[in-house]
Subunit: 386 residues, 2 copies
């Protein structure tokens, strides 16, 4: 047997694992330190009551002979896919069919597994900085990669690739930058993809944070996008499902990829937990929607507080309006990892080093507004001392 | 963008989807027909009460600020991995470490995704007949495939490959044959893999059905297997988790693949539902174990009833002792799909056509003892009329 050398040769230390390890080592050396975690993008507020109640009912059903559910469809229960169309797409004038929506255990799996649809020689464009999984998935398959720098010079808006690329990962609202694309900026990408016969894998995990009616929530709001875009969506950051595991991906038939993705999922995936799907369904009830909105508003206010606080301390800080992330320049003389170590050592504050998101992330760190409000306030106070 | 032509060229109609479609078409034409489903290997008994209670508690925790859980480790909570070692491996004298156990959303995902560990030029051996995902996963990656026929002539025991192969999928107790391997037969495969530097992907989804102390439950009961085998396990067929989604896979460090699998999972998987993991944990309590044993015994008795019933009707039937499946020869003049259609049309009984499991499955159908007991009795009565 020969191993996949692309996978074997990857440098170890997935960004968030490395942060966990450094934080753990610090805590072990300083058992009394009260560490404030503003790093990993994990939500902190509990699940809304309507979702908890729906999952209790689902658990109860699973214990009764008449209501027990075994395998569901690999692409998810039709009632959840219908609710997604009715709530996420139809109101925005986007016309999709039930079989173009695929329920999964989360955006993380789909963003990785979708790459199986494509030839291994395809060239991939990845924003720099970006969520590490896009680059890592590309490297594991041995595909050539093109980085699209997002820097203060281009106002953190990536330029179209100068060479032709086959696959483009876009994430808006952006992680880690906290930026969004205007309708016209997004339309440029759709035009590029149509002209170059490229496919856009659009990560919409943070769409619930958009605060302006001018910013598209879905790439399918752009005419012509259905032929060239796959959209990956998540309940993790909206309904708080990071530990529940449920998301969905839209693969329009117009891409020519819907049947292939169905075949892939029917072979290598056995469907999403019935309990998780019932939880997701409750996100579309009036009570569920209201509770989720309350949580999002809370995180948005935390983001505002962090953004203002960092700026008052003299930091150059970006994002944090239509996204839960603040992208913050580190003081002169520091790298993003040395500033991470400084904050951990002197303030017991954990952030995310920008360099972990790509070369253009060097010189920045990311703060997450998913953190507890009181931790953010405390972190700003400690940083003021620094 | 170019598509993965291996995936694109695959014939459509995953076996179980095709069965569902034919059954649905029949039901629509005959709305009053009471169809008895002895086909798909899905369990029918509800979740045991101790598992239901544990999942209720987990759901409750998720709704409270102090006990809410977000992202877990990609390879699962340590308490579940420890319980797996303590209950499944240590009592059998198998020494593994916590980081060699990976919790997942089920064996289906792992059996598909594990293929990413290997070079695409590796040759793969697949039992014929077998669970379709092994072959389909291999074809999707464009790997050469060698079939190992299991026929009445070789007593349904596959011979070692005549050419060298890199990867070997073994499933014991076997789906669809219902057969097991003796310790010595399993040891032959471990020797083969060691001599040929091959890797065995051992699907142990049905180990709970083994009734004889002589039959190994885990391939690691064979000395030397840790260097050459990955073991994929499931709660689906033991604890009834087909709709809950939780399983685990053992990748020993001695295979040289453990770090690669961890890297893959940390990139393309975001961990298993906390609620599902709590459910799996309850499978190891004394109450959970007792309830699961009751269910397994029930299915074993159903298998016995089906096996005896089919033989009394004059069918050549195999398996059904250490496995929930009966492998049954179709009457002369029929193919496995024409016999499927006959049973559906004349008896309103759904079985699984053997040809769907590979060329050597032609001439056979599979009956599943996961079906309701009364459905099996009724099916045998209708078949007697036939």
């Amino acid at each position: 047997m020969n191993v996949n050398t692309h996978l074997q040769q990857m440098k170890s230390g997935y960004l968030f694992t490395e942060i966990v390890n450094r934080t753990k080592a610090y805590q072990e050396e300083h058992p009394d330190a009260e560490i404030l975690r503003l790093g990993v993008g994990d939500i902190t507020r509990p699940l809304p009551a309507p979702i908890v109640e729906a999952m209790h009912r689902a658990v109860e059903e699973m214990g009764q002979p008449d209501t027990f559910r075994g395998y569901g469809l690999e692409n998810g229960y039709a009632w959840l896919r219908q609710a997604i169309l009715d709530n996420e797409y139809t109101p925005r004038g986007i016309d999709l069919t039930l079989d173009e929506v695929f329920i999964s255990d989360g955006a993380g799996s789909d963003l990785g597994n979708l790459s199986e649809l494509f030839d291994v020689r395809n060239t991939v464009a990845v924003l720099d900085p970006s969520y590490p999984a896009y680059e890592d998935t590309t490297l594991m398959a041995g595909r050539p990669i093109v980085f699209l720098p997002c820097t203060v010079e281009n106002n953190f808006v990536p330029e179209l690739p100068k060479v032709r690329v086959d696959i483009i990962y876009l994430c808006y609202p952006n992680n880690p930058l906290g930026t969004v694309l205007t309708r016209e900026q997004m339309a440029q990408w759709v035009r590029y993809a149509r002209e170059n016969k490229s496919i856009i894998i659009f990560d919409a995990a943070y769409e619930a944070f958009i605060q302006s009616p001018d910013i598209p929530h879905s790439i399918y709001e752009i005419p012509g996008a259905k032929e060239v875009a796959i959209e990956v969506c998540s309940y993790s950051k909206s309904a708080g499902f990071t530990g529940v595991r449920c998301g969905y991906t839209v693969v329009p038939k117009a891409t020519g990829l819907q049947a292939m993705w169905l075949r892939r999922q029917c072979t290598k995936y056995n469907g999403t937990s019935y309990i998780s799907q019932r939880g997701a369904m409750a996100a579309y009830t009036p009570e569920g929607k209201a509770a989720i909105r309350t949580n999002i508003t809370y995180y948005q206010q935390t983001a505002q507080l962090l953004l203002n606080g960092l700026r008052q301390l003299g930091y150059e800080a970006y994002g944090g309006v239509h996204a839960p992330y603040i992208w913050c320049r580190v003081p002169q003389g520091y790298t993003s990892w040395s500033f991470f170590d400084l904050l951990l050592d002197r303030c017991q504050v954990v952030c995310t080093p920008g360099a972990g998101f790509g070369p253009s992330g060097e010189g920045y760190v990311r703060f997450s507004a998913f953190s507890k409000r009181e931790d953010c306030i405390e972190a700003l106070e400690r940083m003021e001392q620094l």
